[in-house]
């Protein structure tokens, strides 16, 4: 197999370019409004951070290969070619300063889905070998070990044991025919074990059968972040295989943004067929339980709290109303940020930025946008539904000496959960 090269990169880009991309590039009027939609630009106003500019290599490949005028320019020798130097220069723009948050895609007045194009451009960056080391490492660990953070099954099993001991709850592995297959993100296993406990509590309490898979517990997909459909396909196939082997009805994507995108939207297209099961985000599942009356809660948080919408959930996933429904169950003083829902600002670390050490500095700058939103509100608690956002938020808040606890939505709900057995028993006593 040949090595990665410029030629392979350009060839990959050619294969990526489709009608939407051609239409997007044809529509751009250089109005610059995407810059104002991007926290990497607004908090770091260098013109080259303008989202559409990050696509220049791809625009050139499109123009020179798929437009009459571009082909003519090539023939006349006046076309500016895409070079290795150019791509290594662009690596910063394509990986370090873009979290695939999709805000530019929402704002663009002519309707360009810039994020969609960046995702595709990354395919070319991968094929030409212009990728950040951090993401290569994460992808390698994901493919070879099974988790981008290098977590192996025993580590999870240890966590599970700990939970079972503490809660008296059964955490099933490889339960065939279970309704739900619960997927996790490494970050949750490492940093937020409360999540697994909370989901387990809620599902068990709702009387649902659920399971973990010992073959595949990792929901995140480094292939999506680095932009390699080959790697992404490999990773998502593992989830699909595990789910189909256990014959589950629904796979639950954890509190993670891009894992949801990978599993819910890209997965079927990567493996080339629809799933035999449903894929849902945990917040969607919780809201369904709420609707079905299987999520009884008690007590209200009276702290002033707000919700940080994970980009992949709102702008790329359409999950906007569900977290609000859930928050209303347990919070009496819930307030919205100025730009919330689909307009919410990114935490600054999505789309592989958090796994990319080169972006450490710039992601903290991008966080300033979030900080401004929070400063306006002066809340006591910040709730979110993505472990990646949560780490970035906690890091950012700490760096800016802001004393604000960040809570996962699932855990918050679990804290207020009323055990249904108790209810039933009580009603029996009456």
């Amino acid at each position: 197999m040949s090595e990665l090269s410029l030629e392979r990169g350009i060839n990959t880009l050619k294969a990526q370019i489709d009608a939407p991309i051609a239409s997007f590039f044809s529509s751009c009027v250089s109005c610059g409004m995407c810059a104002s939609a991007c926290s990497f630009y607004t908090e770091n106003p260098e013109p080259r951070y303008t989202p559409i500019y990050k696509l220049e290599p791809m625009r050139r490949v499109w123009e020179q290969n798929f437009t009459l005028l571009g082909k003519l320019k090539v023939k006349l020798g006046i076309a500016k070619p895409v070079t290795d130097e150019m791509l290594s220069q662009w690596q910063e723009l394509v990986y370090n300063t873009c979290s695939l948050c999709g805000r530019c895609s929402l704002i663009c007045p002519v309707g360009n889905d810039i994020t969609y194009m960046i995702r595709k451009l990354r395919e070319g960056m991968v094929a030409s070998g212009h990728v950040p080391e951090g993401l290569v490492g994460a992808s390698t660990r994901a493919v070879k070990i099974g988790s981008p953070m290098g977590i192996k099954l025993p580590a999870l099993q240890a966590q599970v044991k700990h939970i079972e001991k503490a809660t008296n709850m059964q955490v099933p592995f490889d339960l065939e025919g279970a309704e739900y297959l619960l997927m996790l993100s490494s970050m949750e296993i490492m940093n937020y074990p409360e999540y697994l406990e909370a989901v387990g509590k809620i599902l068990t309490n709702a009387g649902k059968t659920w399971t973990l898979s010992s073959e595949c517990f990792e929901a995140t997909n480094s292939g999506i972040q680095i932009g390699s459909s080959d790697i992404a396909k490999e990773l998502v196939s593992r989830v699909v295989n595990a789910a189909e082997k256990l014959k589950v009805k629904t796979v639950i994507s954890p509190e993670c943004g891009h894992a949801y995108t990978a599993l819910r939207w890209e997965g079927p297209n990567l493996i080339g067929r629809p799933y035999s099961f449903a894929a849902k985000h945990i917040v969607e599942v919780l809201d369904e339980l709420r609707e079905q009356g299987l999520l009884p809660t008690e007590g209200m948080e009276d702290a002033k709290l707000t919700f940080h919408d994970p980009c992949q959930l709102v702008r790329r996933g359409g999950v906007v109303q569900q977290p609000r429904n859930l928050l209303k169950l347990v919070a009496s003083n819930f307030v919205e940020m100025t730009d919330h829902g689909t307009l919410n600002w990114c935490c600054g670390a999505g789309g592989g930025v958090s796994a990319n050490e080169d972006a450490n500095e710039v992601k903290m700058k991008a966080f300033q946008r979030k900080k401004k939103q929070l400063d306006e509100l002066k809340v006591d608690t910040l709730v979110t539904a993505c472990a990646n956002c949560r780490i970035q938020l906690e890091e950012g808040l700490e760096e800016n000496q802001m004393d604000l606890p960040v809570v996962g939505l699932t855990e918050l709900i679990a804290e207020h959960l009323v055990e249904r057995n108790t209810i039933n028993e009580e009603s029996r006593h009456d």
């Binding site: 197999m1 040949s2 090595e3 990665l4 392979r8 060839n11 990959t12 050619k14 294969a15 370019i17 290969n65 798929f66 009459l68 991968v126 094929a127 070998g129 990728v131 080391e133 290569v136 992808s139 390698t140 493919v143 070879k144 680095i226 390699s228 080959d230 790697i231």
Partner: protein, 366 residues
Amino acid sequence: MTQFNMPTVGEQLRENGISRRAFLKFCGLLASSMALAPSMIPKLAEALEKATRPSVIWLSFQECTGCAESITRAHSPSLEGLIFDTISLDYQHTLQAAAGEAAEQARDEAMQANYGKYVLIVDGSIPLGNAGYSTIAGVSNLDMLKQVAKGAAAIIALGTCAAYGGLPQANPNPTGAVAVADIIKDKPIINVPGCPPIPVVITGVIAHFLAFGLPALDHLGRPKAFYGQNIHDRCYRRPFYERGLFAETFDDEGAKQGWCLYKLGCKGPITYNACATTKWNDGTSFPIESGHGCIGCSEPGFWDFGGLYNPVSLPSSLSSQHVVFATGIGVAAGVAIAALNKQAKQQAKQTREPVNVDQLNREVQL
């Protein structure tokens, strides 16, 4: 025949029984027709009084005699008739009594007697295609024009044919017709275009020439006094244009209400002439007032403006067939380009090799 000591215009008029008070009225009307400020009336009167009655040679080439009709059909004694009477028309083969050799002889005599002083009026265009297309007494129009122009003090190119080529020059211009100014370069030429020109404009130009010499001309050689106003700007229907009210057909409600005729092909917006103020038939009316758009007859090339009844803005050769045709070509070329694009993309897809993490790691370690 031609006297060496010509009487002045004033003397000539008085001989015809015109009192000085009548002369003053005449000058007032003349000034009005020439768009001169009323304060100029005394100066005009004084100048005309003293002007020498000129000898005029009138040559008719490729023309329809409409221009001569225009000036001679006016009611007598009209203003234009009066001024026409003040000149000594020594040669005009339609009007003069003499014919044949006698007529040509009259021309020769007038030329000799007033060499360098006579005024040459030309109506009709000159064919360059073949000398035989138009001759007078066996002499081609081109030769005769050159010959007579040589001794002229000034030339009045009367009518659009003489001024710009006119109808004979209309596409495809079979006779190779050209204007006077295309041939004669060394004499002052006053273009008095129109098809035909307004009678008082013709006489006004003559009067101006008599009283004050050559009038100020615009870039097309027309006297600014008569051709300085845009028909559209002076049009009494202009308010309808501003309000966007247009007659769509010649018998619709808009036409009856006197709305703007732009959409019916009125060429007023690109035409300069005195019609809107001077009017025709003793000031009775002018085409737009009679319900028909201006055809732009005082402008060069007006026959080829793209249809008398098409709005000025319309393209002259584009039709919906062109659009359909172009769409067809576009689709055909599009299909070809699309096939090429598809092929290029397909090839890229087929030759694309999968990437694995080992390759990536080697790349990062480099």
